[in-house]
């Protein structure tokens, strides 16, 4: 199964009219990848190109228009790629196969019909809670700091975060955050609360520390009971 993190990207360059047994090579390759349950593959037809024969294939000349380059790309785990490469090597008799290291950042698949009756999973155990105190008006690269932190936490795959807005408070800078009828303050105190495993909280705290200008991070031990649907 392909997951977030390091992976391999395979690119195959062939000709559109390259044959393979009774069909075209690109069809054969795509069918093969599909049957092998590869996470996904894309075949694109190039606008123009040339290969080892040094003949430019372009749609401008009818004689060469049938030889346009095809590029097939797919991303899989290193083990799966190793498994597939011998067959691909056999199949591609005229063309080029290239493998590069890549990193999968997001692997999102909308769940197909979530079953509401599916019982949730109970995950319990010691965890850490991180509270971050900041001001509503604090900015990080032109966006609200609390927004930027939540985005960052999502990217880091932290289990969850909640933003609270206080009604009154004071902190590092000593100025009072308060809202009154006549004066609508846009700088009320904000607290974020994040709960996850100790390692993940530690990593998150370090990243957030770098994003804060003034503020307070507080870490405490908690007992976590998480009900999740996997």
């Amino acid at each position: 199964m392909l997951t977030k993190g390091p992976a391999k990207k395979v690119t195959i360059f062939i000709n559109e009219d390259a044959p393979h047994r009774m069909t075209s090579l690109h069809d054969a390759l795509m069918t093969f990848l599909l049957h092998k349950n590869v996470a996904g593959a894309t075949a694109t037809r190039a606008f123009s190109g040339f290969g080892s024969h040094h003949a430019l294939h372009t749609p401008r000349m009818e004689a060469t228009a049938e030889h346009l380059p095809i590029r097939i790309e797919f991303i899989e785990t290193a083990e799966r790629v190793d498994e597939l490469l011998p067959t691909l090597y056999e199949m591609v008799t005229d063309g080029l196969i290239e493998v590069q290291d890549t990193v999968v950042i997001k692997l999102a698949r909308p769940s197909t019909q979530p079953d509401p009756k599916l019982p949730h999973q109970r995950k319990a155990g010691p965890a850490k809670m991180l509270r971050i105190f900041l001001g509503e008006a604090d900015k990080f690269e032109d966006e609200a700091l609390y927004d930027a932190i939540v985005k960052k936490l999502r990217l880091m795959d932290i289990a969850g975060a909640t933003v609270y807005r206080g009604i009154l408070g004071y902190g590092a800078k000593g100025h009072q955050h308060k809202q009154s009828f006549l004066h609508v303050s846009r700088d009320l105190p904000i607290m974020l609360s994040v709960i996850d495993t100790p390692e993940k909280i530690r990593a998150a705290a370090e990243v957030i520390e770098g994003m804060l200008e003034d503020g307070l991070l507080v870490i405490s031990d908690v007992e976590m009971i998480r009900l999740v649907r996997s």
Binding site: R165, E209, L217, V218, S220, D221
Partner: protein
Amino acid sequence: MRTQPGKILRVHVSESDRYQGQPLFEAIVARCRELKIAGATVFRALEGYGESAELHRAHLGRHDQPIVIVIVDSPENLDRLVPKIEEMLDTGVLAISEVEMIRVVTDPRVSA
């Protein structure tokens, strides 16, 4: 990452609670400032119930929602603060837990 041991105090009161004529939560924050506590933040909750088992929620024209005051400081400062707040409360809950603190201060006007 440099952390220092600290304590977090949560004071649960009601928005309608009063202390010497002013809202109790404002009086508590003012007392924290007087005692040079590092910071205090007041949150208003949507709904809750406590000792009187009476549901606190927003009514038309009357605010009686639960209030939580969160205060983080060194164990010594909080030990100094807790009895002072206790004196001010009629009913309410004080909860204290141990934490690790990281204070981020880059403003040169502010001493860490």
